[in-house]
């Protein structure tokens, strides 16, 4: 399956890119997506996650074609 991955805010800056594409097999959680793409970098504390633009827990399972996003606490308004 293919997962589109997006990064925002300071996390995007830190990673040096705004998106990734992950090709994987088997069952995968949101946290698993991060580990697969960044095996050396633990998910930064306070990182929020979304699946298909809805807030999601890191334990949520992802499906083929999902868009997964990682971002720091929001600071709008």
């Amino acid at each position: 399956m293919t997962i589109d991955v997006k990064y925002f805010g300071s996390l995007r800056d830190r990673l040096g890119r705004a998106e990734d594409r992950l090709d994987a097999v088997g069952e995968l959680t949101v946290a698993g997506v991060w580990v697969a793409l960044h095996p050396e970098t633990p998910l930064p504390l306070n990182t929020l996650t979304a699946v298909n633009m809805e807030c999601a827990e890191p334990t949520q399972t992802v499906r083929d074609g999902d868009e997964v996003a990682f971002f720091p606490p929001v600071t709008g308004g």
Binding site: K6, S10, A50, F71, T75, G76
Partner: protein, 145 residues
């Protein structure tokens, strides 16, 4: 109800007036208008800020703003609501966000306006990067309202 993201500077008072003039059935029913305008300051956390970049998550941001306003409209008897939020590059004194709420009564207008602002600040996917004398920095969290 209208939700809008703006890539360029806007005049919140003109926007409210313009939107209001299009609300044909509102006059006579509306007893209360509550408006909040958030503006970029030239200092934050003890440091001078001379520019700011407001990043968002296209698609998710609009969806969440829309949802916040819908929740407010279920909670309070609103006649209408307008939310405009800047994205992109801002300078001090630029408006960041406008929330305007129309209702028959003031309690609903005040409460809904405040609610939309607090929800927006704590839930809508926006991220601020400030340019200071010591370089750029990401704002790490919003202060509670």
């Amino acid at each position: 109800m209208k939700i809008e993201l703006r890539a360029r500077s806007f005049d919140p008072l003109l926007e409210v007036g313009f939107y209001q003039s299009g609300l044909g059935e509102l006059p006579g029913q509306c007893g209360a208008t509550a408006i909040f305008i958030g503006t970029m300051r030239d200092f934050n956390e003890g440091e001078a800020v001379h520019r700011m970049m407001l990043e968002h998550y296209p698609g998710m941001t609009e969806r969440h703003l829309q949802r916040i306003v819908e929740v407010a409209a279920r909670e309070w008897p609103l006649l209408d609501a307008l939310v405009i939020h800047r994205v992109g590059d801002l300078q001090p004194n630029d408006p960041i966000v406008l929330v305007a709420v129309w209702s028959a009564h003031r309690a609903a207008a005040f409460a809904a306006c405040r609610f939309i602002m607090e929800e927006l600040k704590s839930k809508a996917p926006f991220w601020k990067r400030e340019e200071t004398a010591s370089g750029p920095r990401w704002v790490e969290h919003n202060t509670p309202g």
